[in-house]
Assembly symmetry: C2
Homo-oligomer: 291 residues x 2
Amino acid sequence: MMITLSDSTITERLVYWMSKGDLLIIGGNEDKENDREILKKFVDISREKNGPIGILTTATEYPEELGDTYRSIFEELGVSETVLFHIDTREKAEDPKTVQQLQNCNALFITGGDQVRLTSILGGTRFYTTLKELWLQKAFMIAGTSAGASVMSRHMIMSSVDTEDETIVEMGAGFDFMEDAIIDQHFSQRARFGRLMNAIAHNPQIMGIGIDENTAIWVKEEGRLFEVLGEHSVSLFDGKKLTYVDTTSHGDNHDITISGVRLHSLARGYTFDLITRELIQAPGGEHHEDQ
Amino acid sequence: MMITLSDSTITERLVYWMSKGDLLIIGGNEDKENDREILKKFVDISREKNGPIGILTTATEYPEELGDTYRSIFEELGVSETVLFHIDTREKAEDPKTVQQLQNCNALFITGGDQVRLTSILGGTRFYTTLKELWLQKAFMIAGTSAGASVMSRHMIMSSVDTEDETIVEMGAGFDFMEDAIIDQHFSQRARFGRLMNAIAHNPQIMGIGIDENTAIWVKEEGRLFEVLGEHSVSLFDGKKLTYVDTTSHGDNHDITISGVRLHSLARGYTFDLITRELIQAPGGEHHEDQ
């Protein structure tokens, strides 16, 4: 006997599948004064639909200043309405009025700061569940920079401490907009190669995505692929074909050993397929699938 | 018709092949005061034969201090005789007396400093050609730290400059003790991921070897394999299976794009096969060839 889905279920699933919003994941320190390529892209994509842009300042200890900075930039770039979400307690994140305001937006920008503030204040609240629903069902776009980038994936680097002997990477649950990925930001600028390698050693299924400053990935087509924007590079660490991993210590050496990571480093304009984990398009539209 | 080699030629080649010296390539800042694991290993290996250890200070601007530091350490570790080679001009590198002194040694330690001093002062001189001959034919051991590590390979990173837009990596010819490799040192500590990626993008045949501080590779068995020693990790970037490289600029972005690098990061005790480019042995002797 075949299991059949009712028409309404199929429609529901198609709608679900067809309407996941784009993500713009920024490696921090994006240009705010000159070309503003990345922020302009965010505004351009989100303005394809009507409605205001929300600015979420939960990650930062300076919500007023940072919120006003982004509000001014978005207005200068032609956005007619912005809504500041200065949510710094779980109570505020449950407030039905705030949730209603979010529902009126068509995009949200998540500022930098500390990603653990984002998950600890918003995790499981109405604000978060509404955001996820909007993103899943209504093509609601979400951008985030620095801490706001880290929080995008299901698995999140909370913090890392370099002791004399080892790098201790603390992982936690993120906002779950990308399943098999860990995002790291300020990648080249803060020398985070070791910490991202460490993170994927503990779960090779997950792809490590290291995004440089003033650089972003634009995740589109239902999360199937992304394009690189901005000034520097995006480094990808694919652990799926690992031949060996050892995360135990040997004597004084607490460093991991990992063999057979597949590595890509992509500059602006390149498109990468997150399903096949291959580079698929060069700037200008050339396809490079079989090269 | 078969081409046959005369007996003497065969013997010559076997002798040549059988007697290439070990290399100990150190990522800089090796422990000089406590366990001194790496320097001790150098002394242990080189003491298997008789004869003094030479100390080459050409790379540094402080040859006296640095030379005396290593001399004291080696003496404390039981070396009965050391020879300081304070060679800071090409004239001195041609001096037959100096060359004679080198021929009496059975190992040479090359200090840190600037690797371009090493190649520009020694390249093509009698001192260098004698060193290479000794290493090739008499199992003469060579150790080098920092600049003395960089100089070991045929292709050498001379310097790199991070401008606002790009990393400019200047390559040059090294001492050619390892053919298809580029050594970088202070790897994690100075965030040299980008510069090593850049170097291999320009010639994927070459394997990038990034050695952390107080960490070393001990290259043995005629350069066929190496073992990792010391505190941190060795990162290997194998470009042989690259699927795509683009070293041209796109707009303001001068970063390279590179896809399909095979990456390994090895802690102390692991052995890596430089011919097959695979991890072959874990600490304690376990083989991991087919894992």
